[in-house]
Symmetry: C2
Subunit: 213 residues, 2 copies
């Protein structure tokens, strides 16, 4: 297995956490997003989307999309489980993960920010406002959803980390990087803190990666 | 079961297709997105994200996020299967579904377009350009991915519809609604045509819903 990775990609960060939780340490190749390596012919031949992460398998197949990779890891390396045993619990965990992966993160992706400032000529201030707005919008709903639900435990769902936490922690790191005020989100802050106590999460942090700048 | 639906929501459209494929016909409540009903207190109490679809279960739980709902339907009503039997095939199907659900659709969501024209003061022309740009960007990669892969069949993956087709067809409808030139995407057009032959897909189309305008 080989992970195509970039230290600051929060989608890649999710996969790094899951690999650590499952005790897997594939080879890694770093795709420098700020330098545009993801748009090179070589990388696009592997992943036409030109995004990271991608996971190359020993048989030659290349998996794309972080959540598809996470589900694949869950199916092929089921211990420890990152999805609950019951269908309702799995739907809840996936719902939280997708609320981040679909409705927060893609809006704040590098290519989107570049379109805003480049093609649309939006100012840096307005771009930063956009970035924070979509995190706040998503976090407000998540905070409410998690705070009111007795299924929320030490982690997003009960007493063991799941794919929901795997998606939450990188999004919290993005929020901190733009100095977002996290005080309206005490439940998210508490869960993020609990995750950071686990080595699998801490070791996957952007600053700890070999390609960190 | 009760589906919170809106005829033009392409995320709800996905769930309608899957329900039809599985022969399920839950009660439906229509949430008028253009009139902002999704932001009402009543709806937000059900789904703090204020998005459709949501799926209310008989036990009282409310599922959110279309892909989490699709996976739940797949687990609780496995026939006919909308995911392949092998982990690699499932990862491929999920990867296609997520490329649409994460990297195309959220960027062209109503609330995002409203932010562009409202908060950022972007012109209608530039907003339309944005809309098409993200579909084109996603479709270029998808076309390449599907055209070159022998796993592509009559449908995105082999000879039976999967969650990939369930996500593709509503995105094709969105592209047509803004008169996007689809000629660069012959594989997507062919697969969409094959899906439209199936009643489960045809009956889920926005124009056929009771709340269509």
């Amino acid at each position: 297995m080989k992970l195509y990775d970039y230290f600051r990609s929060s989608a890649a960060y999710r996969v790094r956490i899951a690999l650590n939780l499952k005790g897997l340490a594939p080879a890694r190749e770093f795709v420098h997003l700020r330098r545009g390596v993801q748009r090179s012919e070589g990388y696009r031949a592997l992943n036409p989307q030109g995004l990271v992460p991608a996971l190359g398998l020993d048989g030659g197949a290349v998996l794309t999309q972080s959540l598809a990779i996470l589900e694949f890891l869950e199916e092929t390396h089921p211990a420890p489980p990152l999805l609950p045993a019951d269908a309702l619990g799995r739907a809840r965990v996936r719902g939280i993960a997708l609320a981040i992966a679909c409705d927060i993160h893609p809006l704040d992706n590098l290519r989107v920010l570049e379109y805003l400032t480049g093609t649309l000529g939006v100012s840096t201030e307005a771009k930063d406002g956009w970035y924070k707005y979509w995190i706040d919008t998503g976090f407000e709903a998540l905070e409410q959803q998690l705070a009111r639900d007795p299924s929320t435990g030490t982690y997003c769902h009960g007493e063991a980390p799941t794919l929901a936490d795997v998606c939450l922690v990188p999004q919290m790191a993005n929020a901190r990087r733009v100095s977002l005020d996290l005080s309206p989100y005490p439940t998210l802050v508490r869960i993020d803190g609990a995750c950071q106590q686990l080595r699998a999460f801490a070791d996957a942090a952007p600053a700890k990666q070999p390609d960190a700048e």
